[in-house]
């Protein structure tokens, strides 16, 4: 489809949605004159069908995992339509969070039951779901650490957060936004920071440690127990960012490793759809000792009834309004129930086996190089790779590959979070969803593009060639004179050209 922008569609007076006139008995009311709107907002005027058709076209112009996606760090899963359908029912969709808890027993029961499931998976004592994503859960940790240290009267001294340079950007970013100074530990050749570096970083100023394990290279830090021991010895709180939980679920318990708190991304590991960037949930769990600081309310069970406990005087306050993206929690609960303990264990097995199978096959493609090649162990559930050698040889890099993959119906791969530790990185992750056929197809496409990089590099560098649009020219994105975040801005900056081309509003 050559689909115009919606502002170009329609005709004056067309309607997509009518509202009833106020009943005669209601009388006519008006906004105070000073605040009345006088202009007519420049919105499209279209029929219901035209709106539907337009957005159906846009959905069809979105690849959206209709092919194969091995998007690393995000753990592509099947998103159950059964769970989705349940959450669309009025019994959840049309529920208000301020209803009396007596009328919320169903949803509170699910939240509580899921809390109990996560407690078992992590060893923690209480979970909350207020955070709107993984990053927000990290922020919850930082805010909780503030409340914890403030409660002890030490917030003025405990000003630093320690993490590794390979940790997800959200850890340092949220800690910084929460007011902490970030201490980044560099990586050693073995793929993780040294204990010496950790010891040097940790001390009486350390408020908390935020760390993931394994990392996105697929490397597991075997010294993590010692890390936690050292950090706690220094009085710091220890937070396990369980972004990469898929490979270790059922194998590890955050609490047994000594952590005080952890978070799970329900929209990744627990099969709720991420929906192209949320609504998401960062489930945050902690020990009994930290529970008083959790954001309120907390769902508790008392005498067979479920309650929202809002009376938490030491609470950090709120991270976000209400109690979280409830439908996503329900979907994650559904995932955990559908999988069961055996299924979860098997999923972890499969995801690590499949990743190592991919490593084997990718290693056979000339020009690709695994990160930390000196490490010969089997990797965890994903592995960072580099196109460095191929890029040096051909000039074709990871962005070019990503663009070209779409031509094969393959969602672009994930490259790497910042900073790029290896050159021209990419990070595939199989998870437990995909079949061998899918994985082989994916690897075949990578091999094919690698061949093209040598034989017809321009083909790759100018990709995509069969997507809805040609390669986007990103030069405008940092140019205040050229960027246009709304149609208004575009009209102003580009004059009438766009409008005229499509026939006008």
């Amino acid at each position: 489809w050559d689909e115009p922008v919606i502002m170009e569609l329609g005709r004056p007076g067309a309607r997509g949605q009518l509202f009833p006139a106020p009943e005669p008995e209601t009388g006519k009311a008006e906004i105070p004159a000073a605040m009345q709107r006088r202009d007519r907002p420049e919105l499209p005027e279209i029929t219901e069908f035209e709106a539907q058709r337009h957005y159906l076209h846009l959905s069809q112009m979105t690849l959206g995992m209709m092919g194969v996606s091995l998007f690393g760090t995000c753990t592509m899963k099947y998103n159950s339509k059964t769970a989705e359908a349940a959450t669309l029912r009025p019994e959840l969709a049309e529920v208000h969070p301020y209803q009396h808890p007596d009328t919320l027993q169903g949803v509170l029961e699910i939240i509580h039951d899921f809390d109990v499931i996560l407690r078992s998976l992590s060893g923690m004592d209480q979970f909350v779901f207020q955070a709107g994503g993984g990053a927000d859960a990290a922020y919850t940790m930082a805010a909780l650490a503030r409340a914890y240290w403030a409660d002890r009267g030490e917030l003025g001294e405990r000003t630093e957060m320690v993490t590794s340079i390979q940790a997800h950007p959200c850890n340092p970013a949220t800690a910084a936004a929460a007011g902490f100074t970030v201490v980044n530990l560099p990586l050693e050749e073995n793929g993780y920071p040294s204990l010496d570096a950790l010891k040097a970083a940790i001390g009486p100023k350390t408020a908390l440690l935020m760390i993931n394990n394994p990392d996105d290279m697929g490397i597991y830090n075997p010294e993590i127990r010692e890390w936690v021991r050292l950090a706690k010895e220094a009085g710091a709180l220890c937070f396990y960012d369980h972004a990469n939980f898929n490979g270790v679920m059922s194998k590890l318990s955050a609490r047994e490793l000594g952590f005080d708190a952890c978070m799970f991304m329900l929209h990744k590991t627990f099969g709720a759809p991420k929906a192209g960037g949320g609504p998401a949930v960062g489930a945050f769990g902690c020990s009994d000792a930290l529970a008083p600081y959790l954001p309120a309310p907390v769902v508790v069970k008392q005498d067979g009834k479920y309650l929202l406990d809002d009376d938490r005087p030491k609470s950090l306050g709120k991270i976000r309004e209400f109690w979280g993206n409830v439908p996503q929690v329900v979907k994650a609960y559904a995932w955990a129930r559908a999988m069961g303990a055996d299924g979860i264990a098997m999923a972890s097995d499969i995801s690590v086996v499949a990743n190592n199978y991919m490593d084997k096959k990718l290693g056979e493609i000339p020009g690709l190089k695994i990160s930390n090649p000196e490490i010969k162990s089997q990797r965890m559930e994903m592995t960072r790779w580099s196109l460095g050698p191929l890029a040096e040889e051909t000039g074709v890099g990871t962005v070019d590959f990503a663009n070209r993959m779409a031509d094969f119906g393959i969602d672009p791969w994930w490259m790497s979070h910042e900073p790029w530790i290896v050159a021209e990185p990419f990070t595939p992750e199989a998870g437990e969803l995909w079949s061998k056929q899918d994985i082989d197809l994916w690897i075949g496409v990578v091999a094919q593009i690698a061949r093209e990089a040598r034989e017809t590099p321009e083909l790759v560098k100018t990709a995509p060639h069969n997507q809805a649009i040609a390669q986007v020219d990103g030069s405008v994105f940092d140019d205040p004179e050229a960027w246009a975040m709304t149609w208004r801005a575009w009209q102003r900056k580009r004059g009438a050209s766009g409008k005229a081309a499509s026939g006008g509003v």
Binding site: L43, M66, H96, H100, L104, Q105, K274, A275, F477, M485
Partner: protein, 468 residues
């Protein structure tokens, strides 16, 4: 490391023999071998203790549905709850589009693979910009409270000042989020939150108090229009003018559904505008439908302070063709880690698509109609409720969709009234008696386009019974 008897429908490699085939290719003897990196003493000792698996869809559905049916809901009951989540009509097309698997999927692709989604996002910003009369609209953050929090921090960075003024009659829910964003007072970068008094005759901001508190240390003035308790801030332009004169940013919070009948904030001097996304076609979802937008004028100094995703139109390799991508993305936390502007991550972008569809369905006339309708019905409701003996409307005729009902003269608590209403299938307004606003036994009632005049009479009749 258990092997199930039957393949699981969500795991292709759980089919018999499939995993072994891969192990053979890798050349390791068993599954344990691929976990060689994990030291033996790291393995959990406590066995997993999960409820029995519901492998079959039929059991899973039954479990979910039978539990959810224990809820009461606002379709079966007549609800007047608002205050941050509001019951509005969600057009069926919106549900269809956001439910399309292409959109409701795990994947977040590229500008190239997901052109359609990027365009829908741009259309969200474009249409909201048309309502706000502003040129820059960011994709939504987690919630309205979070949007305000980010906006205040933007203002602090823009001005280098560390104080924000906001109305004392603030939503405690949003205020608590704002305080979280402003950091505790022990911290170096703490932003002080100072409240502005209310004009007791109208519920509006006290201009005198505002003037007394504005000074060279104020980063921003924040107010809502309509405000938390429903009142319309007619002095908006004056407030913005005072703030500007003091070198402070004016941050406004608006209900997008009011903008067909209420002046666009871009037209009364707002610098940064925030608001909730949920009214634009998202179900209440037990509070899980929230999202918050941030918008501003198209000036680089503002654009360079946004924390999240700004979708810009861009040319493609094909002459005349346009595509979409993220503008100024280096400044977010993906690009700059702790040096970025606050932080971002997965947010509520599906609701941007809902909002795009919703706004396109309404168009200019629809927004005017829904605004008129809500206003008329809310005022009608206030009038009828105000006629119930002992019941008073605080600040009548100054509101949009929410208004305060005081029960002091009935001798009943809001809690008791609401319990009696609940027995009649009605969810009364939010109890605000304990929020410290000095409004007595008061509830915040919300009336929208879903409430017919007959519904409102049903409420009024029930209140008459209940308050006798």
């Amino acid at each position: 490391m258990t092997i199930e008897q039957r393949a699981h429908p969500w795991m292709a490699l759980s089919a018999p023999g499939a995993l072994q085939q891969m192990l053979d290719e890798i050349g390791v003897k068993d599954v344990a071998a691929v976990f060689e990196q994990i030291p033996a003493d790291h393995y959990r000792k406590t066995p997993l203790d999960l409820p029995p698996a519901l492998n079959s869809e039929i059991e899973l559905k039954r479990d979910l549905v039978s539990k959810l049916r224990k809820n009461g809901d606002c379709e079966t009951n007549l609800s007047f709850l608002g205050a941050g989540v509001w019951q509005h009509h969600v057009p069926a097309i919106v549900d269809e589009i956001v439910g399309r698997t292409e959109f409701a999927t795990n994947v977040w692709g590229s500008y190239q693979s997901d052109h359609g989604r990027n365009q829908a996002w741009f259309e969200f910003s474009s249409q909201l910009g048309a309502l706000l009369n502003l040129d820059v609209v960011q994709l939504p953050v987690y919630s309205w409270g979070c949007a305000i929090g980010h906006a205040i921090r933007m203002a602090a960075r823009l001005t280098g000042r560390r104080k924000v003024l906001l109305p004392v009659l603030a939503d405690p829910e949003r205020l608590s989020v704002i305080r979280t964003y402003c950091q505790p007072s022990e911290m170096e970068d703490h932003i002080e939150v100072v409240t502005i008094a209310t004009d007791p005759t109208s519920g509006r901001l006290s201009i005198a108090d505002l003037k007394s508190k504005l000074g060279p240390d104020v980063a921003a003035v924040y107010f809502e229009n309509p405000a938390y308790l429903g009142t319309i801030e007619t002095g908006a332009a004056e407030i913005a003018g005072l703030a500007r004169a003091a070198g402070a940013e004016t941050i406004v919070g608006v209900d997008p559904l009011s903008l067909g009948v209420m002046m666009a904030p871009g037209d009364y001097g707002a610098d940064i505008v925030t608001g909730p996304v949920q009214p634009l076609g998202v179900h209440m979802n037990c509070g899980g439908g929230v999202g918050g937008f941030i918008a501003s004028r198209d000036e680089a100094r503002y654009v360079h302070e946004y924390n999240g995703f700004l979708v810009s139109i861009a040319p493609t390799a094909e002459p005349g063709q346009i595509g979409f991508g993220l503008a100024s993305s280096h400044q977010n936390s993906y690009g700059s880690r702790e040096h970025g502007k606050d932080w971002t991550g997965n947010s509520t972008y599906l609701w941007a698509i809902a909002g795009a569809v919703y706004m396109s369905l309404l168009g200019p006339d629809g927004f005017r109609e829904i605004g008129d309708l809500i206003l008329s019905r809310a005022r009608y409701a206030a009038r009828l409720i105000g006629e119930v003996p002992g019941v008073k409307i605080v600040w009548p005729d100054t509101t949009f969709k929410e208004f305060i009902v005081n029960f002091d003269d009935t001798g009943k608590t809001v809690d008791a009234v609401n319990e009696a209403l609940r027995a009649r299938g009605i969810f009364g307004g939010k109890d605000i008696s304990t929020e410290g606003h000095g409004l007595g036994q008061a509830a915040l009632y919300c009336v929208t386009e879903v409430h017919s005049a007959a519904d409102i009479r049903r409420l009024a009749d029930a209140l008459k019974e209940v308050c006798q």
